[in-house]
Symmetry: C2
Subunit: 487 residues, 2 copies
């Protein structure tokens, strides 16, 4: 058998094996994938109907050799080769941390996360799922926060058709038997996102169960059993991120030690080191004490925080030395809950405020809807005015030098840039009539950006020395200063 | 000599004495004022031209007796009586701390501080001073932050006509000789404010000198000499508050021990215990460490803080157990400096945000002006749109039960009230479409307040139990819930 798989594509070995007993539990299969001196061991999984699969994401072009190991004789010692070909256009590999505050795809292409949130979209009906994908295709988002388990919460009471575990006649779940149909659906959705250039920020546990299904209070052994299975299935999808939990502090059945263990299981089971973080609920960073999960722990790749006060971003960057994504900062909408009713203007402001403090921000939308089809939970359509402003910000950030950093010398206005070369200052709620700037050595272009009206106006001329920048006197203004290259 | 002075009025004993040498330094005069078992000792002062004065603010009606003490024979042992009459209308006495978060005049009338800032207004020309008083007469403010020493700062370079100390021919100051004309002017302005019902929050030291006059770097003995003199003159004005300094952390010549000493001198010299605080510059409360002067010290009566983030108010209330006034939270205007260019809407929001978190807020205005006549420094005219909104808030707060407190059970929206009786919730930037409330026992009136448009709309009917309050879906909304008294 000779096959080929592109770099960071998904190679899949399919084998037939025993179907007796509970194959999910009774049989194990793994394989080593080797190239030259390198060898990776990956876990395979049972997919129902006597079918076993071992998936592998090669990160190097050339010939790879594999060999299986199993406690089932017919699955053991199977070996073969495949060719890893160059990645196709648009495939840049998985996202990695770059330096201490940025991300990049594995091929080095910078990745600037502009995420959104559709927690339970895969648990909705097929039409709504398709609508979500159509909306995403038009939207500026390249990361989606989404849950594996279904959600039982305000405005989201739907019973899904499929669950990760098989349901018994009495309505409870057999926590030893997975449902491959559910996972096939999940995998399809992850691929759909991949095609749209969207990272799937997959939430492995969450508290929105409230006694309905019980997935929030499984025991540690079951949690680990589930983690090993889902990672065996999904780790070779290059656009997967692991979010241990959403609002972990609302999951009363779990301790901080449990979360450490969950992190370590994920770290151990995933041979590719996909991004790992955890997201807090109201156990927020407090002004007097740090209340967050310790993002400094070695198995955490980045900070995935919930906080209304995004101006804390630079503090977290300093505290943890890792990239910061404010994965919830309230949602654009008009729900009664405090987290669900900021204006589009405020959402846009929080994006700019986070980004110009060196972090990244995540969108969500929560407008009341006659059928409760609210984007943040179910996907569907977007009604708000912030996405196009977020697209505008994304275009500006993508045009910035990739290695931008905080510019603390401009201490009074959050500013990112590259010293002497590029500055992006954000005035937010402040609206000075003018701003005096002492430019560094060189000649500069100065642009006034209206972040709400999405206009960029260049200040006439080429600028040097100390200059006065006249500003429009309105809020939501940014200033971009770019060094003009010598001819 | 028999005279009468109203309660909390100013009784003044005028004596002629020696004018030789330096009477400010060489002669001391004090007096005891006695009524029944009570006796207070107060310091008098030299007022130039051989005139000595001893001022006293009686706090009890009836006959008071006094007797002087001096190292000058003709000033020693002078005694007499005067009658303290009931206070005239509008005279409620000096402002005191009431409980742990409020203020009241000494007669028990609640005092809700709604301050503004004209740092150097007394140092401007007479016409501008008069204009300031005319503006204040129309404005909603009942406290004014103002400096004793003149100010040398951006937009404020004026050389005043008078200084606390006499100027020598070489332009330096004789720091042993006060100028009574300066103090007479200052006293007149304090009385002008008193007539307008405005407390003079008098700033005893400030850093805006920058080598021009040197008042920010006098030695400790001179500081104390100045304090004893100014307190002897001003402590009997009932509307005086002592602010040890503005932006004390910018005064590099002083240590924290100096500030402790200044507080203790003021505390010791002022027999009436006027309010005492100190105001920070950029040594702000930090999100990880407390950087402020320790307002918990026993000589500090209340917190007079500068911070952009007024949502910290409730933290300071808890931390210090004293009333909190955010005496600077940025100013309405359009100056280039970061502290001087928030919108009227944002200023109004910061007032509401502070007040519904249990504190009080102070206004300032900084619009560019062709002659740099900017309210925050010089007084003059107000151009902004926040004062009328602050007046609206003041009217609402004055109609609230005086003993309102924080209502932590409404945890998601800052709310003050009296449990079961009155609630004032402020939504600020949040704009939910509706809000479900479980009312306490009783029947209630519900009003929707638009804090920007200054409208109050009553929700039809009398309300009980769990209700849904439809909100307009715009920002800057407050809800007032008032229990209807049984007929």
């Amino acid at each position: 058998m000779t096959e080929s798989t592109e770099r960071w594509g998904l190679f899949e070995l399919v084998l037939q094996g025993p179907a007796d007993g509970n194959p999910y539990k009774d049989y194990e299969i793994s394989a080593t994938f080797s190239k030259g001196d390198r060898s990776l061991r990956v876990r395979g999984f049972y997919d129902g109907n006597g079918t076993y699969r071992v998936r592998f994401m090669p990160d190097e072009e050339g010939e790879w050799r594999y060999e299986t190991f199993s406690n089932a004789a017919e699955l053991n010692g199977v070996s073969g080769n495949f060719t890893c070909t160059p990645p196709r256009p648009g495939n840049h590999g998985p996202v990695r941390v770059r330096g201490s505050r940025h991300f990049a795809y594995e091929d080095g292409t910078p990745y600037l996360p502009f995420g959104t949130t559709c927690y339970a979209w895969i648990h909705m009906n097929r039409d709504l799922q398709e609508q979500t994908l159509n909306t995403l295709a038009q939207a500026p988002f390249n990361k989606l926060r989404m849950c594996v388990f279904p959600k039982n919460y305000s405005f989201n009471k739907e019973e899904p058709d499929l669950f990760p575990f098989v349901r018994k006649a009495d309505g409870t779940f057999d926590l030893e038997v997975f449902d491959p149909h559910f996972f096939a659906k999940l995998e399809q959705r992850i691929l759909d996102l991949q095609r749209l250039g969207i990272e799937a920020d997959l939430i492995l546990f969450h508290p929105y169960d409230k006694g309905k299904w019980g997935f929030d209070e499984m025991d540690a052994a079951t949690d680990d059993y589930y983690l090993r299975y889902i990672i065996a299935r999904l780790a070779s999808y290059r656009n997967v991120w692991w979010s241990m939990a959403n609002e972990y502090d609302f999951m009363k059945a779990k301790t901080m030690d449990d979360w450490d263990r969950v992190f370590r299981v994920v770290q151990e089971e995933d041979p590719y080191g996909h991004l790992r973080s955890i997201h807090n609920g109201t156990r927020m960073y407090d002004h007097r004490r740090v209340f967050l999960y310790d993002y400094g722990k070695p198995w955490v790749t980045h900070v995935s925080v919930q906080h209304w006060d995004v101006t804390l971003t630079s503090i977290w960057l300093e505290e943890y030395g890792k990239p910061v994504i404010v994965d919830e900062c309230c949602y654009e909408g008009n729900l009664p809950q405090r987290w669900g009713n900021i204006t589009a203007e405020e959402m846009t402001r929080r994006f700019w405020d986070t980004v110009t403090r060196g972090g990244y921000c995540t969108h969500g939308e929560t407008y009341t809807h006659p059928n409760d089809e609210i984007w943040w939970a179910k996907g569907g359509r977007l009604y708000g005015q912030s996405p196009e402003r977020i697209a505008f910000l994304r275009s500006i950030l993508e045009a910035a030098p990739a290695d931008y950093d905080l510019m603390p010398e401009i201490y009074d206005v959050p500013t990112i840039g590259v010293r002497g070369v590029y500055y992006l200052m954000y005035f937010g709620l402040l609206r000075p009539a003018y701003r005096d700037i002492e430019l560094p050595e060189g000649r500069f272009r100065v642009e006034i950006i209206d972040t709400w009206n999405m206009t960029i106006e260049e200040m006439a001329g080429v600028h040097e020395g100390t200059i006065r920048i006249r500003l429009p006197g309105t809020t939501n203004i940014a200033v971009r200063i770019t060094r003009i290259e010598d001819q």
